[in-house]
């Protein structure tokens, strides 16, 4: 779980403004990849 914790901490340390800025700069290709990734982790639990 250490890897998860490290990664989560990095994401959580971002402010809303920072998150917004990052997402506003993502290309469609990157958004597409991200949506595909989210589809992959979806489960029926």
């Amino acid at each position: 779980m250490n890897d998860v914790e490290n990664g989560m901490e990095k994401i959580l340390s971002l402010s809303n403004e920072e998150l917004e800025k990052i997402f506003s700069q993502l290309s469609m290709e990157e958004i597409d990849d991200l949506l595909t990734k989210l589809d992959e982790v979806d489960s029926n639990d």
Binding site: E5, M8, I11, L12, E20, F23, S24, L38
Partner: protein
Amino acid sequence: MTNVEFLSIVNRQLDLLKEECERCENWVKSAKNEEKEQAEYALRTVRITRDKLKKLIEYPVYERIKAMSLEEVEKYRIDKLKEAEEELRAYEKQRDMFPDTNWRYLEKRDIYSRYNKLQKTVETYQKGTPEEIKNMWLERRFSSNQLDEIKREINYVSEYGMGASPEFTELYFKDFNTMEKVDGLLSELRYNKYNLKKPFVRASVWTYSYPEGKEKEYYMGNEYQVESARNKILKSEKEYEEIMQMYSSGILKLNRFYNLCSFLKSQINEGKIDENLINNLCKLGDDSTYSAYYNKEAEDLLFRVKRLNKNSKKIIKTYDTKTFIDEDKNVIKSKLEKMYEYLYDENMLAKRNKFDVLGLQITLLPKPFEEVRKYGDVPFDFSYWVNEMNNTFNRYRESFAMAKEVIAKEQEKISIQEERYQDEIDKNIKEIEELVGVKYEKLPYDNSIGVKTPAHHGAIFNVQNVMDSVKYEAQNQADMALADIKGISVAEVRKQRQDELNQMREELLNMTESRDSVKEEQENKNNMIR
């Protein structure tokens, strides 16, 4: 944090959480009794973490898609369509290569399903207008209910922070069953000297490690556990710092070498570089020393960064000194230029994305690097290496000059010995001439007769050997020429000469005998007179 870094972390997190969910699901299936409860608790925690991450991402994604311009969507639609059509054609080509009976095999390899997906993609992007595509994108992931839920969640998180979101605190408090104490603990973690802003992650380190129901006992009864959790946190932070420091140092080294190559390139282009410099630089490169040093560091760095982020790409390029040796200047020049280009690209890549750390094995370095290893790192200054090399060359030059002097002295000694030796031969001949009363004509030299020499210094024998071989060769040439003139074989010439020599030797012997007999006769006469 850059976009690339962010996406890399998110992708990695989603992968890890998926793996962790699967692991916990298996654990729940195999666990029994008390352990089962523990496994279920772990599974719940991981699922909550995963869903939170998904929610955190989904809302901005939704906002981003909403904000997309129709031109942007249209451009993407065209690119995507082209890409999908190309891939589809490749699949169709591949499909045509396989007989129908092999589709089962292809299905197993997911080729068939990928083919079907591509067909649908092409169909969608061919038919859809940009607006339809945009709606399709929004619907792809977000139903209206989901969106409301996401918004609610985001607002809550914005207001209270992730660690305080209702699901999490509920779970957390329920499991500890002591709200005040857990709250106190969270505060302690948050505001303590460790200055942890987000207790969510940190706290889970430790609740996750102990059997469910035992946390209270551990927390209340054993301060050691709290200390242990703190140490664990400190340790991981320290490790992270170390990795970042190593990374910076790796980049620094990379930059230094990049500067070296840049300098080399400019020197080559300006024609300033000494022609021999590159050759010697390549030949003097002590790759075993440097690569052993650098590789270890690079591998260590890669290993640690890989642990930090399994998605990091491992790029190691090897430039071996050996490949440069014995090649002409132009080949070396072109290789250096390629290396320069490579370093330039990789350097940029490394700057862009911290986690795509690269290890470089560079062996194009002069020998004095051993000294650097011995005394620690020194600034990678090209002039330093040039000076070092010049010193080395000068040392070689001095040694060579000294060696030449020694050889000259030895040669002088040999000449003196040679003269002395010749003097002795002349002296002996003169003595014989006086005794015999006949002028001695020097015979052609023949190894079979040889010249009886007194036991001289070893050098004389060496000189004699050289003289012998030269003379012998001259004799051979003479024999061959004579054989040619006379029209007989060389063997016959040698035989004739041998006969002549034998005859002369006999005559000389007779003369000596007659001299002795004359001397004896004279002595007898003298005796008789006396």
